[in-house]
């Protein structure tokens, strides 16, 4: 048959071809080599990797004004809503849940996103800290980067423990997915083993002086650490210290009320805080209230530690629209009206307090304090729109009147805060306090100086000066004191437990000293337990 001859040739060729292909570099063919991203297996020892690792730890700071899901609901809102000093008629933010004690870990992304943001900051820092020692850097530069990163990790953890108490302690990158679920560690351990050592290390490692650009310097570390020391001299640290083994957050058996706390460690922390605040004292000066909402004054004047924003797309401060009065057409885009001081809070300012002075819409003089009650219609400047007092301290005029976003920095620490903390530390140590800063703050506000100060004076001044700078919740929790707002005055301070804010339908209980662990974490982390009194609680499924 003529088949035969052709077949022999063809068969040979076929088999040859097949085996040639079969033998050609199989190993490499199935090897996976990512080309678009670095991986942990990559060689990251070259000098060029040093700074990006340090810079990575700054990334989550800008999320401070980030989104908490739904229109106008931003994260800074969520830190003011529980205090009783905020109000909004804007329905998306679900403020009524705070008013009626219906807050759960699943309330929008109020807790989910804060949790994610701050823990991501911790993870970013951990990645940098694990890799930086391998990078080819001078000792000084390695120390500086390590100091910056550790200061930032401490800051993220400081936020976490103040919001939720006991925290998931993780100081190295996660290697194995099966180790991802971790239980919480005592907040005292987090302070003792992470926050305080990180900041104390950073104090000696980072450059001295002020931060002109948002990078961590010694001044920044001093401000944060002073706040940390002041906070651990109060609550909940001091109560946990009475019995560190107890599951305080799970049981919610908080009961201590004295402030300042009379303990050896509290005094020692206050002394350390005092030293740092003394070091900062006099290095800055108070400018005008207009500086607070002027992007040109970013990192200048009384600024000590700010989050860096820019009007460039993707880097904006997102608190602008929420702070404008709801649907008033004074800006190019929507006004959310969700980051709004409650009327009774505004009414507590003294009549002559320059911070609260608003100007007459008829004369169209822009205000110079922290509030405003009128603006012009964006479509028609001859049309004036009036509204109840709203925050003016975030009013970045260029951004309000254009389609650009706001490039105004967010202040975490500014000099007025230092002055008030210093006053408080001296007061808590039983030393003369009126001349330690509070009167400088009052002087700028046009208020008479105080001869001697009480806790009420300090807390009131903090409420007026640092209004809606996301400080009040922390102040309430560390001092366990709440403000009773009065007419042109703060009429008193009350113990946190039992205090009922004017517009809430319930009184605070020990539950409210902490916030709920977010729903997403409760679902994804089988080892975490909810704070006392909150939903959702842990549920473990069955299966085969």
């Amino acid at each position: 048959m003529k088949y035969i001859k052709e077949n022999i040739v063809m068969r040979s060729i076929m088999f040859l071809v097949v085996f040639f292909i079969a033998l050609s570099g199989c190993e490499d063919f199935l090897k996976e080599v990512p080309t678009n991203q670095l991986t942990a297996e990559a060689d990251l020892t070259a000098r060029e990797y040093g700074e990006p690792l340090a810079v990575g730890a700054y990334r989550m700071l800008a999320e401070w004004t980030g989104d908490a899901r739904d229109w106008g609901n931003r994260l800074p809102n969520t830190l003011e809503f529980p205090t009783g000093g905020a109000y909004t008629g804007e329905p998306h933010a679900l403020f009524d849940k705070y008013q009626t004690n219906q807050v759960t870990g699943n309330l929008l992304d109020n807790f989910n996103n804060q949790w994610r943001n701050w823990y991501r900051g911790v993870q970013d820092a951990n990645l940098a800290l694990s890799l930086l020692p391998e990078v080819d850097l001078s000792e000084a530069l390695l120390a500086q980067y390590t100091g910056e990163v550790r200061a930032l990790r401490a800051f993220y953890y400081f936020c976490i423990v103040r919001y939720w108490g006991d925290a998931v302690m993780i100081t190295e990158p996660l290697e194995d997915v099966t180790d991802a679920e971790l239980p919480r560690t005592s907040l005292k351990t987090i302070y003792d083993e992470v926050i305080i050592p990180d900041l104390e290390y950073a104090l000696g490692a980072v450059p001295t002086g002020t931060s002109g650009n948002g990078r961590v310097t010694q001044d920044v570390v001093q401000a944060i650490l002073a706040d940390v020391y002041l906070t651990v001299s109060g609550y909940p640290y001091q109560e946990v210290e009475t019995n560190p083994q107890k599951d305080w957050c799970g049981e919610g058996s908080w009961s201590m009320q004295e402030y300042p706390v009379n303990s050896t460690s509290a005094t020692a922390f206050l002394q350390k805080s005092k030293a740092l605040l003394d070091a900062l004292y006099g290095k800055y000066s108070l400018g005008t209230y207009d500086d607070l909402h002027d992007p040109a004054m970013n990192n200048k004047g009384e600024a000590i530690f700010q989050i860096q924003y820019s009007s460039e797309g993707g880097f904006e401060n997102d608190i602008l629209q929420p702070s404008l009065p709801l649907l008033t057409k004074i800006s190019k885009s929507d006004e959310n009206g969700s980051f709004t001081v409650a009327q009774h809070y505004y009414d507590s300012y003294a009549a002559n307090d320059l911070r609260a002075v608003v100007t007459d819409p008829i004369e169209k003089v822009y205000p110079s304090g922290m509030f405003f009650t009128w603006d012009t219609n964006i479509d028609d400047v001859s049309d004036t729109v009036t509204f109840p007092p709203h925050l003016y301290k975030y009013y970045d005029a260029a951004a309000v009147k254009s389609v650009n976003g706001s490039g105004l920095n967010w202040s975490h620490y500014r000099y007025a805060d230092i002055l008030l903390m210093r006053t408080e530390v001296y007061w808590a140590l039983g030393e003369s306090a009126a001349d330690k800063g509070i009167n400088e703050v009052r002087e700028r506000a046009g208020l008479a100086p105080l001869g001697s100060v009480t806790l009420k004076d300090i807390i009131s001044e903090r409420a007026w000066e640092l209004v809606f700078e996301n400080k009040m919740l922390w102040d309430q929790r560390r001092t366990r004191r709440c403000i009773v707002y009065g007419d042109k005055e703060i009429s008193g301070i009350q113990n946190f437990i039992g205090h009922q804010p004017q517009i809430f339908n319930f009184a605070f209980t020990p539950q409210h000293l902490l916030s709920p662990i977010p729903g997403r974490e409760m679902i994804n982390n089988g080892k975490i337990q909810q704070n006392f009194g909150y939903l959702p609680v842990q549920s473990i499924g069955g299966g085969e």
């Binding site: 088949y3 071809v17 097949v18 063919f29 199935l30 996976e32 080309t35 670095l38 991986t39 700074e51 990006p52 810079v55 990575g56 700054y58 899901r69 008629g89 804007e90 329905p91 679900l94 009524d96 008013q99 009626t100 004690n101 699943n106 992304d109 949790w115 991501r120 993870q123 970013d124 951990n126 940098a128 925290a167 998931v168 997915v177 099966t178 991802a180 679920e181 971790l182 650009n213 948002g214 860096q308 820019s310 460039e312 797309g313 649907l327 057409k329 190019k332 389609v403 997403r520 974490e521 982390n525 089988g526 975490i528 939903l535 549920s539 473990i540 499924g541 069955g542 299966g543 085969e544």
Partner: protein, 1061 residues
């Protein structure tokens, strides 16, 4: 591929006769005088059927080795010129054995053609080969060309729906033009990895986007491999079933030209009723009456003059005009004391939607000689959506050829090209429902409208709620498209080494790119305009080499196949975004016109597979059948320890009807029992997921100085391995009364283990989720297909086909702790849960018990609520309403059963076809809470008219209040109120055609009228446009039927022609 004896020989042959006659004339002209000159001998004769001794019309008579030929007439007579006595005539006709007769000295050649018994057998395409359907031990279903294009269909999903049991076609985007349907074969196997079947097009494995990009008219047959015996040959890609597509190919000696064209008009079928302008004011009044129970009214949003402060009707002349007292059905009194009424009454649904007009054309030319066959196809479809400016346009081209190089070596080539474009800008439907009905599209450009004159309206113009920009405005300001181009093609070398042994080698590619452009304008200066353009490319190549061996020894029949393959997929993507354009003029066409710093992105990926596969078939006496397959797959997607995996299967068949004791049966004409068991895999996860990423970002520092920063991007899992599905299937093929009744029934059980599960990791310790092998899913089900020929007369026939599929899905294991995994826990999403013991696609939510009545004030107060607020079941009785703690599974988005009932009628030259679709045991989430619970925050559906009032305590809708006012709230959760019975019966399609067979110059002409979605029966209370599908932004792979204002599904009417030249 399968060939059937034409049921209606006469009719079809008649067309063929005219067609071939015409072609003969055509060829005579085309092939020049040279051919004519060679026709020295004229041969005549008659072809009769060996079956009934009658003349056979339409038989091709060809002079071998030429393109010269003719066809027999109605009586079976023919006349043909041949060049000389050495010529050989080839007589062929579908369903008959081809005969070759040497002319010799004859001038009259009468022959008898006998039915080709082997071609009567259906041939099915299986992996790496074809088999007689009767020899198949696995579960394989086939769809013929007539079934595929019995009416104008745009994509394969539409064509397949309800025709094959066990195959669920999910219309994701409902009626959205160009939306990609999903196909699930025997349920959903996996939670996070892909559950789409594998598409094998002309041997090209894993063609992407086949469902959407392939023109159904280019397809000859579709064979669907459902069980492990059939799919395990595709190993890691076989677990979700395999759809084998064979495109049209040329036939010997017969040049065929077909044109199909149709025009379609689509109309709205159902409505989503929103409040009218009058209802709006009734509700507004009601809201302000109801609201004070929450606290003090915020009068700044109360425009009722004298009652509110600030603005009133009289201060909004752009929206209100003065009327005398009583001039409107209710008194709208302005601050000036005058009476007003709204100027505009907009029904946004009417404005947004209009009848659509679409057309479709397809031209197909095929033919060939003994040594070279070809087929060409060219198609264009232009589909308009009901929503303004939504469209889908696709152009397809196809070329296939089979060339015989010599007796033992052949080459085939297949090339498919498609280009499809559709609108982007699809998130518009919520706008339609939530824009105030009192707004115009645009204000008249007249002085009385002041600042508003000539401007587009927005929600801000009546400033109580969200700023919805009306649909015409957004459509004017936005533009964009997706453009998909795809080339799929390959060369196949086919060598017949010996009579028993053959070898095939193919080299194929699938090259697809998706371009996207998007422009979002400046909306009258209220935002920064932005534009973006992106391009994503996928390049796949494969090389497969395999031997086929067939041997018959006595009663034993063997066949075997062994082969190996390589394939690689390379993906890359770039995107550029620019901002702040000086004018909307540039749209997306000139990104450099944007003044802000542009942003650019890119990424790439690669994955590869290396496989070895084999199959053995053995049959004894055509009664006992056995098949075994195995495939060893190596994938780059997994870590070094788990690169390779082996997937085996076996199948058994017993053709009882061939046994002696049954062969005489007059009732049972065919009976086969089948059984199979096997293992398949799934590797459909992204590339590089086993590795731990370090991502980069840009961090802003003072003075606008940006620095690059590293951060942990993902958590790797080097131990990741294959997902494995074990499946067994038993089935029966039963033919009764000479196969006039055919029943195919299957029962299957599938269990997927080591499920590739994208485990959401705690955010406290890990960046995002990671793929792990945790979990198991089980699918069990039955499939039934009943095909009957009810009436078979010369002039009239009636066939029916009934399909039924029932699948039960259950999650058996999940994650490391077995805890629930929730998806979309926020309101307005239709929350769902993955929970052990429940099926994939379960809706999760609260039980809405109604509204707190006045008597329940004390109970309401326990939850901080007042009468008129929504009442949810507090399952754990802790005094708090919380979704996860008080929620439960409240619905299922996959049906318990579904199928179709297809009737085909032929009467003389008329044909008619009716397809009824039914789906049962399924729920639909109508997530319109944003237009129910948030009155005057956004526009409302008219269900709110039935809300609670002091004098109307019933209902499940929250009292009319303006949410936010006086502390009034809205409680929106996924809840039982949002879950509707999604069962339905649909008149899916019907057509009526008439075939003209006696038009000179045309072989045949069929004109038809068809309609789609011509009736729909649902539960009476079902809201929304359609029980099927999801809105585009809620299209989840595993959770179906989420209507957050989904695209309406049109009723279509088409007029078309099929012409054969």
């Amino acid at each position: 591929m399968k060939f059937k004896l034409p049921k209606k020989k006469l009719g079809i042959s008649k067309y063929a006769f005219f067609g071939n006659l015409l072609l003969g004339i055509g060829f005579s002209i085309l092939l020049t005088g040279n051919v004519m000159a060679q026709q020295n001998i004229t041969v005549t004769g008659r072809v009769i059927s060996g079956e009934d001794q009658t003349g056979l019309p339409g038989v091709n008579v060809i002079v071998k080795g030429t393109t010269q030929g003719t066809v027999t007439d109605v009586e079976g007579n023919y006349t043909i010129g041949v060049p000389d006595e050495t010529a050989i005539l080839v007589f062929s006709s579908v369903g008959f054995s081809t005969q070759e007769i040497a002319v010799g000295g004859q001038t009259v050649i009468d022959i008898v053609l006998n039915p080709d018994l082997t071609s009567l057998e259906e041939i099915v395409v299986v992996g790496y080969g074809t088999m007689r359907k009767s020899d198949v031990t696995g579960s394989v279903a086939s769809v013929t060309p007539e079934e595929l294009v019995d009416r104008p269909v745009v994509n394969l999903g539409q064509a397949l729906q309800n025709k094959v049991s066990g195959v669920q076609v999910i219309k994701q985007g409902a009626g959205y033009p160009g939306s990609n349907p999903l196909i699930r074969i025997r349920g959903t196997n996996s939670i996070n990895s892909d559950s789409d079947p594998l598409f094998v097009v002309d041997g090209i494995v894993g063609v992407s986007n086949a469902l959407r990009n392939i023109n159904p008219q280019d397809i000859l047959t579709i064979d669907i491999l459902k069980d492990a015996s059939a799919t395990a040959i595709y190993g890691t890609r076989g677990a979700n079933g395999v759809i084998m597509i064979t495109t049209k190919r040329g036939d010997v000696g017969k040049v065929n030209v077909n044109y199909n064209g149709s025009m379609t008009v689509g109309t709205m079928q159902r409505h989503n009723y929103t409040v009218t302008a009058d209802q709006f004011f009734y509700l507004y009044e009601q809201a302000f009456i109801n609201t004070p129970k929450y606290g003090n009214l915020d009068l700044s949003k109360d425009f009722r003059g004298g009652k509110g402060t600030g603005l009133s009707w009289s201060e909004m002349p752009h929206l209100f005009e003065q009327v005398p007292q009583g001039g409107y059905f209710m008194d709208l009194i302005g601050n000036d004391g005058n009476y007003y009424k709204p100027r505009f009454y907009s029904n946004w649904e009417e404005i947004a939607f209009d009848n659509s007009f679409s057309h479709d054309h397809y031209l197909d030319v095929s033919g060939g000689s003994e040594t070279a066959k070809y087929s060409l196809g060219l198609g264009h479809t232009d589909q308009e959506g009901l929503l303004m400016q939504s469209y889908y346009q696709r152009t397809n081209a196809r070329f296939t050829t089979d060339i015989e190089l010599n007796k033992w070596l052949g080459v085939s080539a297949n090339m498919l090209y498609s280009r499809a474009k559709n609108t982007r800008g699809d998130d518009q439907l919520r706008t339609v429902s939530e824009t105030w009905p009192i707004l115009p599209i645009k204000y008249p450009d007249e002085p009385e409208y002041g600042l508003y004159a000539g401007k587009w309206s927005t929600g801000r113009d009546f400033p109580v709620g969200e700023n919805w920009r009306n649909i015409v405005y957004t459509t004017d300001q936005r533009d964009g498209y997706y453009l998909n181009t795809q080339f799929t093609g390959g060369l196949v070398l086919n060598a017949q080494i010996t009579q028993d042994l053959s070898f095939k080698s193919n080299l194929s590619i699938d090259n697809r790119s998706e371009d996207s452009r998007w422009f979002n304008g400046d909306f009258q200066g209220t935002r920064t305009s932005d534009a973006r353009g992106s391009n994503a490319r996928w390049f796949y190549w494969q090389n497969e080499n395999y031997f086929n061996y067939n041997k018959m020894v006595g009663d034993h029949s063997f066949s075997g196949m062994i082969g190996l393959s390589w394939s690689e997929t390379i993906y890359d993507w770039v995107e550029a975004r620019a901002y702040n354009f000086p004018s909307n003029f540039y749209s997306y066409n000139n990104l450099s016109a944007g003044t802000n710093t542009p942003q650019v992105y890119s990424s790439n990926q690669r994955s590869a597979l290396n496989s070895y596969f084999a199959r053995v078939n053995y049959a004894y006496k055509d009664k006992y059948l056995f098949t075994a397959t195995g495939r060893m797959d190596g994938s780059s997607k997994f870590g070094p320890n788990n690169k390779y995996a082996f997937f085996p299967s076996v199948g058994f068949g017993w053709r009882m009807s061939n046994e002696d004791f049954m062969s005489g049966s007059s009732v049972v004409s065919n009976l086969k029992l089948r059984g199979s068991v096997g293992q398949t895999g799934n590797q459909e996860i992204g590339s590089f997921v086993t590795q731990r990423y370090i991502n980069t970002t840009s961090v802003m520092f003072g003075g606008g100085n940006k620095l690059s920063g590293f951060y942990p991007g993902s958590t790797g899992n080097p131990n990741l391995k294959w997902e494995t599905t074990n499946m067994w299937d038993i089935g029966i093929d039963l033919g009764l009364f000479n196969n006039r009744v055919n029943i195919i029934a299957d029962y299957y059980h599938k269990r997927t283990d080591d499920m590739l599960f994208n485990l959401p990791l705690p955010e406290s310790t890990a960046p995002g989720s990671a793929f792990v092998n945790f979990g198991a899913v089980e699918n069990t089900g039955i499939e039934l297909e009943l095909a009957t020929t009810n009436i078979q007369k010369d002039n009239f026939s009636w066939d029916t086909r009934f399909t039924l599929s029932a699948n039960k899905n259950e999650i058996k294991k999940l994650g490391p702790t077995g805890g629930d995994v929730y998806v979309d826990t926020g309101a307005g999403n239709a929350t769902s849960v993955y929970r052990i013991g429940e099926p994939i696609g379960s809706f999760f939510g609260l039980n809405r018990m109604g509204v707190y009545s006045t008597e329940e004030a004390a109970l309401a107060a326990r939850y901080g609520r007042v009468p008129g607020d929504l009442k949810f079941e507090d399952v754990n009785q802790d005094g708090k309403i919380e979704l996860i703690s008080d929620g439960d599974v409240i619905g299922h988005s996959y049906p318990d059963y579904y199928g179709g009932f297809i009737n085909t009628f032929r009467y003389k030259n008329f044909d008619a076809n009716i397809i009824i679709q039914y789906v049962g045991g399924v729920d639909k989430a109508i997530v319109h809470e944003s237009a129910e619970d948030r009155q005057f925050v956004s526009g409302m559906v008219n269900r709110v008219l039935d809300a609670w009032r002091p004098d109307h305590q019933e209902g499940t809708i929250v009292a009319q209040v303006r949410a936010g006012n006086a502390g009034a709230r809205y409680d929106s959760f996924t809840d039982t109120h949002e879950i509707y019975n999604g069962a339905f019966i649909r008149g899916q399609a019907a057509s009526l055609g008439y075939t003209f067979s006696d038009i000179v110059g045309i072989n045949s002409l069929r004109v038809f009228f068809s309609t789609e979605n011509f009736f729909l029966i649902t539960a009476i209370e079902l809201e929304g446009y359609d029980p099927e599908g999801s809105s585009l932004d809620k299209a989840r792979t595993n959770i179906q039927n989420i209507d957050k204002y989904q695209y309406p599904n049109p009723t279509n009417f088409s007029l078309g022609v099929n012409v054969n030249f």
